[in-house]
Amino acid sequence: MKPRTTTAGRSRRRTPVEWRVAAAAAAALLLPACSQTAPAAPDSRSIAPGSIVQGQGPGPGQGTAEADSVPEPTATPAAPALVPAAVPVRPATPQAAAAAVPVPTTLTVAGTSINMVVVPVGVAAGAAMELPEAFDQAGWYRFGPAPGAASGTAVIAGHIDTTSDRAPFSQLKTLAAGTAIEVGRREAPTLTYRVVSVELMAKDSFDGDSLFRRAGPHELKVVTCGGRWLDERMDYSDNVIVTAVLD
């Protein structure tokens, strides 16, 4: 009895060391992983064009409707009411860009160590959202609405891990409803959002039009990876999406 127990105890004590070594080795091997593989993941790419094709039918109509409303948000609703039969006419000169909404600069989440610098980002290879390399930075999708915009979703995303450890955004999946998220902005007051939901969205069925929505009620979407790590894909199975609304 004694020797058997001792042996079992030793072998179990040794196991984690081996696993840690294996994990470290795996981490070393996987260095370039998600930031390169995810955008190249055939699944996400094949899905994106698919959704585009599906959206093509209603797309033009919506697009044109937005074209009407965006350049002159105040005039358009008023004009038909005042002069029902009037055709909108304007000089065909370049229109002044809509007043820019202040750029987000920081993101902090109450009750966590998330205190990130936020930088504007665009689109990387493979139509993936660009993300900052630095583990303590998050990216704001600058082509979509900004925090504090009148409508649409402001998307801020960051890595869940560094090349060797967890990044602050690994805490996103545990946020409780009502958690305060503060977004600092350049030359504008800080905004406070409250978490309303934390969801997983499978990368296999990534719904970009929903996440990067430009119309409809304003929300903040804080995004990272989550779910299971898929070795064969060198990527996580899901995105963690925190949805928050202005306090």
């Binding site: 697009g63 074209a67 055709v87 006419v89 963690v240």
Partner: protein
């Protein structure tokens, strides 16, 4: 008035505008979108659709619409701005057919030789890749073929009236100039043209080279953006690996606990055994 639109023959294509029929922009499912650009210098006109005056005192360089129109055929005509009806049009009447969900711009313009005419362009409203903008250049001026230069380099070459060329490019502001094909001396510009992400920016060269009134008109169709195809929020699975590693110590602890329980049990057995032996010895001694 030498170039009066009223003396022009009917152009090859169409002139359009409409709204009296459909009422203001209450877009219904499947409606076509029609914009109208006035690109004939020096003339103010009225535009008629199916006999109804829909654009009154329409001035050069103006862009009307977009109007939401049910798909179908429309009769279009252009008259003097003081015409009582459309019975004596300068252009038209012509019939144009607008497809469901189609997006069009009808342009009254000069042809390459300087005669007023009209063209109906179909606007590409397909979705633009995420992070990109689309630029289309249309030659609707009384001028020979041109190149469009951006930053001094030709991005559109040998564009003739009434043709168009499109580019998909990174959003930003372009310093655009128009020069005779094969040359770089601007006949228009340079002028700043902003191409926004998810927006189709359509630039028209209009006017007359001879009359030295060439200029640019700009139309934008936004809302054509695409969403990114993914959010690559992981670097290497470290979080997962750490999580696995994190769960292992728990397993180890359990193992250690088992071991400790084992040792404890062993100690207990030994202790009890010891007691038992002591008792046995004591009994033996007593015995």
């Amino acid at each position: 008035m030498r170039r009066s639109i009223f003396t022009a023959g009917v152009g090859a294509a169409a002139m359009a505008a409409a709204i009296a029929l459909a009422g203001p922009a209450q877009a219904a499912e499947g409606d076509a979108q029609l914009s109208v650009l006035h690109g004939v210098p020096g003339l103010t006109v009225d535009v008629w659709v199916n006999g109804d005056r829909t654009l009154d005192d329409f001035t050069p360089g103006s862009l009307a619409g977009p109007l939401a129109l049910p798909p179908g055929a429309y009769e279009l005509a252009i008259t003097a701005s003081d015409a009582a009806d459309a019975s004596a049009p300068a252009i038209g009447p012509v019939t144009v057919t607008l497809a469901a969900n189609g997006n069009y711009t009808a342009v009254a313009n000069l042809d390459a030789a300087g005669k007023p005419t009209a063209n109906l362009f179909t606007n590409d409203v397909s979705r633009i890749p995420a992070g990109k903008g689309k630029l289309t250049v249309r030659h609707t001026a009384a001028a020979p073929a041109v190149d469009v230069l951006a930053g001094g380099a030709a991005v559109v070459s040998n564009l003739a009236n009434p043709s168009e060329q499109s580019l998909t490019l990174d959003p930003g502001t372009i310093s655009a100039a128009v020069a005779a094909t094969g040359t770089t001396a601007p006949v228009i510009g340079p002028a700043d043209v902003t191409v926004s992400e998810g927006t189709h920016t359509i630039v028209y060269a209009w006017g007359s080279l001879t009359d030295k009134n060439l200029q640019l008109a700009v139309q934008t169709i936004d809302g054509l953006h695409s969403a990114p195809g993914s959010v690559p929020g992981a670097r290497d699975g470290s979080s997962e690996n750490v999580a696995s590693a994190g769960s292992l110590p728990a397993g180890v602890s359990a193992g250690q606990i088992v071991a400790m329980v084992g040792f404890g049990a062993l100690a207990l057995v030994l202790l009890l055994g010891g007691i038992g032996m002591a008792r046995t010895i004591a009994e033996l001694r007593e015995g």
